[in-house]
Symmetry: C2
Amino acid sequence: RETYRGLSPAEFFYRNKEIAGFSNPARALYQTIRELVENALDATELHGILPDIKIFVDVVDPGKNIVKVRVEDNGIGVPKEEVPKVFGMVFYGSKYKIRQSRGVFGLGVKMAVLYAQITTGKPVYVKSSTIDSKEIYEFEVMIDVINNRPIVLSHRSYRKDNQWHGTVVELTIEGNWSYAKKRIEEYIKRTALITPYANIYFKGPDIELAFTRATRRIPKPPREGLPHPKGVDIEMLKQMIAMTEENLSLRDFLIKYFDGVGKISAETFLKWAGFNPEQSIKTLTLEQLDELARKMREYSGWKRPKDISLSPLGEELLRRGIEEVLKPEFIATVTRKPSSYIGNPFVVETAIAWGGKIPPSEKPILYRFANKIPLLYDEGADVTRKIVDSIDWSVYKVKFPAPLLVVVHICSTKIPFKGVGKEAIAEVPELEEEIEAALRECARKLRMYITKKEKELELALK
Amino acid sequence: RETYRGLSPAEFFYRNKEIAGFSNPARALYQTIRELVENALDATELHGILPDIKIFVDVVDPGKNIVKVRVEDNGIGVPKEEVPKVFGMVFYGSKYKIRQSRGVFGLGVKMAVLYAQITTGKPVYVKSSTIDSKEIYEFEVMIDVINNRPIVLSHRSYRKDNQWHGTVVELTIEGNWSYAKKRIEEYIKRTALITPYANIYFKGPDIELAFTRATRRIPKPPREGLPHPKGVDIEMLKQMIAMTEENLSLRDFLIKYFDGVGKISAETFLKWAGFNPEQSIKTLTLEQLDELARKMREYSGWKRPKDISLSPLGEELLRRGIEEVLKPEFIATVTRKPSSYIGNPFVVETAIAWGGKIPPSEKPILYRFANKIPLLYDEGADVTRKIVDSIDWSVYKVKFPAPLLVVVHICSTKIPFKGVGKEAIAEVPELEEEIEAALRECARKLRMYITKKEKELELALK
Ligand SMILES: Nc1ncnc2c1ncn2[C@@H]1O[C@H](COP(=O)(O)OP(=O)(O)OP(=O)(O)O)[C@@H](O)[C@H]1O
Ligand SMILES: Nc1ncnc2c1ncn2[C@@H]1O[C@H](COP(=O)(O)OP(=O)(O)OP(=O)(O)O)[C@@H](O)[C@H]1O
Ligand SMILES: [Mg+2]
Ligand SMILES: [Mg+2]
């Protein structure tokens, strides 16, 4: 009497779009812009290209809240044969790897395409060309929601007679510009703060923002890494063994497929774990796989995860970005050494800015960033806010109200986001320790500055 | 140079299980239990069956935190041919309809099965029989993660020689009982509170809870409803028109497929919207569909959504449940009339309990429920906590610390959950209004009680 059915991923997110941040026309406009901007910045910066990003928002029908959003970048472009799926298939992308990037789910732009399709019936317009392509191509794509497949409404290509490479994405959605304007402006400003090597131009219905790059120095792009033994599980082992054609020995399997495992460490571990290093991986039983995964997680002798897969901003760029956008009286910055949780490497960078254009407030203003994405919502559910509030700032000579702004940037190959809308970060103990340690390092520098200013004031008063 | 790939939904949730609440062994044990219990209660109560639910938690290997979870119910069972997909395919289920139920995503039990597979490599064990089935069947199922398909490891069936119907689900997972125990106990207690017509038996490693039903009265099960015109979008119209074989007129299409639309209201609306009621739906252009969807959402003359698809507890059962579990000195209850947001009907029921076994606290203790599911996490991100904190309780003669407990239960065909882990509810204005109105109604009754007690005290002192 019950009827049973399945849903495609596209249909699931069509029915539950608020879970991805598309809950109302104001929030949806914000989310559409950020999904496109984050894709544009990944397409440039992950490949060592200085980003030139342009964002255009036009209200095409004020009575119906119809808004056109267009984002242009000078990135690596989307290969022609990949355009339909990249824009028209949920859970499809190029960021399913062990490498720091803004995108992680293979869902973002599809949510925006879906939202446009739902609210205006219009396809996404894409124009792109890769660096080595001889042509420029244009597509109009919609999503076949029932089947989670792209529908190409139109496409054309023509010879490229210049060196252009990059992507243009244009969407027409129901969006509430006046309600969303403040947050969008804040998002653009904070993006400029965390990417001081990017040119970012934003043209909205009643506002124009232009951030010229403060430096041509760009962080070293992250490189794809291998999984770390600390993060292994039995399902992962099964899949990896099924995917290897060769019947490797346990030792060679560990060396080849895991981060930072050499011949000596593999053999030391296997002897400790009670395994024969020569055993062929295809002969492992389920019980042995379970035991192997468990022992790999438990072993404390592994090298810490490499950080080649990370790309922190670094203290100098963090300082430049904050100076450009906030012009404070004082800045303290800290970029911590890499740490890790369950085999996922991460770096915490923090800054404290004081005075200048920062308005006084009753508790520290907090700017949160994850993999260079500004997080503006759900602050109350974010681990970083919890830590900032748990610090007794009077120890550092801060009396509220104070012109105190705290910047926290977490880089990782796996940011523990609480939801697919990427707004709040979960409480991971290793992360909490690092955030607090970094903040206190900055706070001590602030205290030295406040002490110095107090002394100068005393001298001036004599 | 970038490599592109897609993920199946199973692989997506394998990689991002923390987004569904499976973030660590303690939380995962809690989530596993609740996913199974919520399925068991849906399988009984949605069909008018008085629930008999048994939950068993055993620590099978304390050193490795391996825990076995078993849930038994007397529900409608799972049809034999549906067992593999229902337990082995993400986004598959029987609750993708317009009808109040605890389950909504077609994901819950699969997350638990996936988590067991990842942490112990063990399949889910299922035993079931539907009411009219002549046999009982047992299955062991795992998920083919890459392809999002079930793998049936074993199955057997045998003749049923009694009237048994229902389901047994057993999973072996890595779970931290000692860390999760307190929350699990609270979850079971609150489940008993909100379902006073259920027998709930819980046996854990060092604890046994038995809640015998306080009444045989059960809320009228919800009936499947039709979509309401206020909630329509162009994608929905396209899909509905594509699925209808007959080339209906616009008027007949509205009458047949939408909630509460009769001949007169359909014609009145279509004339107001500038459409010809006789136009065949298959001849509508994209522009017309867009206009039709827009006008359907805008029109203020629709009947309010029917509430046959809802199943609130009602004031009497809410009172019984609170009395049984909390034994307070005073209870005020309110079940509001149905309301709606974007065409989704909802009912808010609240209760205020005072004194008795309720401990005094600095602000009201809050028990949140959504479709009879207790919500225990992310209170800071929930709209209900925000409203409870925004009320000035001194107006109702409450001085803190006070033994004040607030119960808020929201029933809807679409609960605006913030995430697939179902822990916090988003800020929907229509919902906020109703929650506040209901709480103030209860608070006024509390004030009368407090006033009466003050008078009694005065008389006693004379
Ligand atoms: N502007 C762009 N330039 C180049 N490639 C792009 C661009 N936008 C999207 N892509 C490609 O499309 C893929 C899918 O994008 P989408 O936003 O849906 O997912 P994602 O960025 O991988 O992850 P997330 O869901 O977290 O955003 C990306 O992985 C990338 O390969
Ligand atoms: N104990 C049970 N008795 C009968 N049917 C069940 C039982 N458990 C699960 N099912 C069936 O399996 C389906 C899938 O369950 P699952 O928990 O994955 O999703 P859901 O309950 O529909 O939604 P949600 O993801 O929100 O829990 C259910 O819709 C129901 O049809
Ligand atoms: Mg993206
Ligand atoms: Mg369920």
